[in-house]
Point group: C2
């Protein structure tokens, strides 16, 4: 069955977002990353700034923050409200049009659909560090800190809301090391598989 | 850099071995699975039967068996001897010729080489059960038991000897769900990437 929707989960610095953007262009389909933030904010009744900071990342304090703190009498935290809004927006987008969706646990949110190709892009540390230094103009030490911090927060968010393990091959239709394969080949493989 | 050696790790029932065999045929390179057993047995000074049963699987009793039991005064167990022999044989094979190697932690054993493409083949439960029922002429219940038992023993062996986690995308150059992508497309992707 042809895949109408492509979700891209990715390690920070692996070029997953860039690969997803190029795939969307080449297939002539919609691309959703920050594009969703306004819709999620409206759905949750929160500011776009808050959603931009929190929609995919756990609080810095980690898993405990999700599980036990900041919950109102219904047991819901602000993070839960953002997640619920995000889930609704992603399901509506998937219903509406062919697209590439970056991150935001979209692989799990859309797991009951048969027309979704779930991709995980990862990379080797030296290559990711090089990319981050050049994109964000930071030192190697800072790049490594950013990788550790952002991937930890993505992992915590994913593991909490999906009860799956972020980065396990079994969650995705395919996982690709962009540092070894290169961005062009990753794009080609994804496009070939989407046309299945 | 072109990849001379392809390692295929796989979930039981995912067709990984079949895919590896076809890739080797199509690329006209050597194929190693059970073909290695004689060499490993000779290297370890054990019978081929023992190696066939134990070279890739942990004992049924699990992780503890590796870590704490059956060790002689040097601290080595029979499993350690088999593993050491296997490691030596795999490194010699990789040095000698272009090939496909199935399982046996070859991805980890060869991790310092740049000419290796590491592939993990996984699949969806219903599809794996169908394959096992047809290949081994067993019931669905038995097929599920076989999947749980064999993958658990492969995981335990891998995690113990590599200090990595079996099935984590980051260990492999690529991971492919053969149930969604189909065996033919998996073969094509691997061959395209090997020719990189």
């Amino acid at each position: 069955m042809a895949k109408r929707i492509i979700t891209i989960s990715r390690e920070f610095g692996s070029g997953g977002r860039f690969i997803g953007e190029e795939v969307a262009k080449k297939l002539g389909i919609a691309y959703y990353d920050k594009e969703m933030i306004g819709q999620i904010a409206e759905q949750a009744g929160l500011s776009s700034e808050y959603v931009r900071e929190n929609a995919e990342l756990s609080p810095k304090k980690g898993w405990f923050a999700y599980a036990f703190s900041g919950r109102d009498i219904t047991g819901k935290s602000v993070e839960d409200m953002v997640y619920e809004a995000q889930r609704k927006v992603i399901m509506e987008i998937a219903e509406k049009e062919n697209c590439v969706i970056i991150g935001r646990n979209a692989d799990f949110i859309l797991k009951d659909r048969k027309d979704v190709l779930n991709v995980f892009i990862h990379g080797s540390i030296p290559e990711k560090v090089r990319r981050i230094c050049s994109l964000y103009n930071v030192t190697e030490v800072d790049a490594i800190k950013m990788i550790n911090d952002i991937d930890k927060r993505r992992r915590t968010n994913y593991n909490f809301y999906t009860e799956q393990k972020w980065g396990m091959a079994e969650n995705y239709t395919m996982s690709l090391n962009s540092s070894v394969l290169g961005y062009d080949l990753c794009q080609k493989i994804i496009i070939d598989c989407a046309k299945l």
